[in-house]
Symmetry: C2
Amino acid sequence: MKYQKEHDIFTSFLKNGKSRITPERFLVLDSALDYKGHFGADELYINMRNNNVNVSRATVYNTLELIAQCGLIVKRNFGDNRTSYEKNFGLKNHDHIVCTNCGKITEFETPKIKKLVEEICKNLDFEFEFESYTFNIYGTCKDKNQCKKFR
Amino acid sequence: MKYQKEHDIFTSFLKNGKSRITPERFLVLDSALDYKGHFGADELYINMRNNNVNVSRATVYNTLELIAQCGLIVKRNFGDNRTSYEKNFGLKNHDHIVCTNCGKITEFETPKIKKLVEEICKNLDFEFEFESYTFNIYGTCKDKNQCKKFR
DNA sequence: ATTATTGCAAACGCTTTGCACTCCC
DNA sequence: GGGAGTGCAAAGCGTTTGCAATAAT
């Protein structure tokens, strides 16, 4: 199977949480892993419908949340009032540059940011359990072939 | 007048952009500056109505955008799929810790992040005009008196 | 058998839009 | 007087919810 390792991870995550193993959940997982780049829940739902993979909207939303919880995809937020997801490529953490004009998203690696986050959490004056962070840089990309502002 | 300086700044911003000076825009500005903490556009609109300051929803939304453009307030995004604003206190840049459980927002100062952003933008392999960044840390705050998870 | 999960459609919250009216320049 | 700005209500969009039907344990 194409995503055997991910299936195994998701399976044990579900069993661990006393959640049920359903075919729909794995259909969503496969589609999410197949998706190139960032995607919204609704976007994935439509995409699946178009490919004749019929899982209800509610199930897609719920399942993406589960897959994010178990770490196979990552939840993102690019300031457009919707939740985006993307495949998690393991340890290599990266953040995003977003063109506010054409929507282009560029990824960059930030070895320094992780230390900074740890440092900040450690120095707080109240107890805080870290979950995640978002670090986005916004601006305009001046890509003459793509960016609406400059072409 | 209470916010004379801000009125002046907004006035010249509007004139500069060949936009009109209207009473509604200054009602929104005053209400935004009076608001304690972060607020959404709709939240401000309701708040204004409650105080018998009657400006239409559309105008509140449009005007907040303008005020943010001229820098008197800052646009934020805390991962809840809505746009938040807050008064801009000038140079002292700060970022946010968000409790994903009770919604509490804690501000912290980050002298290091600005340098990091500059460094990243400088080393990109394409031309990019920086506008802003978001840096939020998510987790649970374990405030026994407030946080739903621990009380 | 029990009960979590599913599918569907309706409701939700925030935001944007269309259009006639207003009033700043 | 012209056109940007306003107000209102309706529509839009992504997301969540309620409930009956289904299927995993």
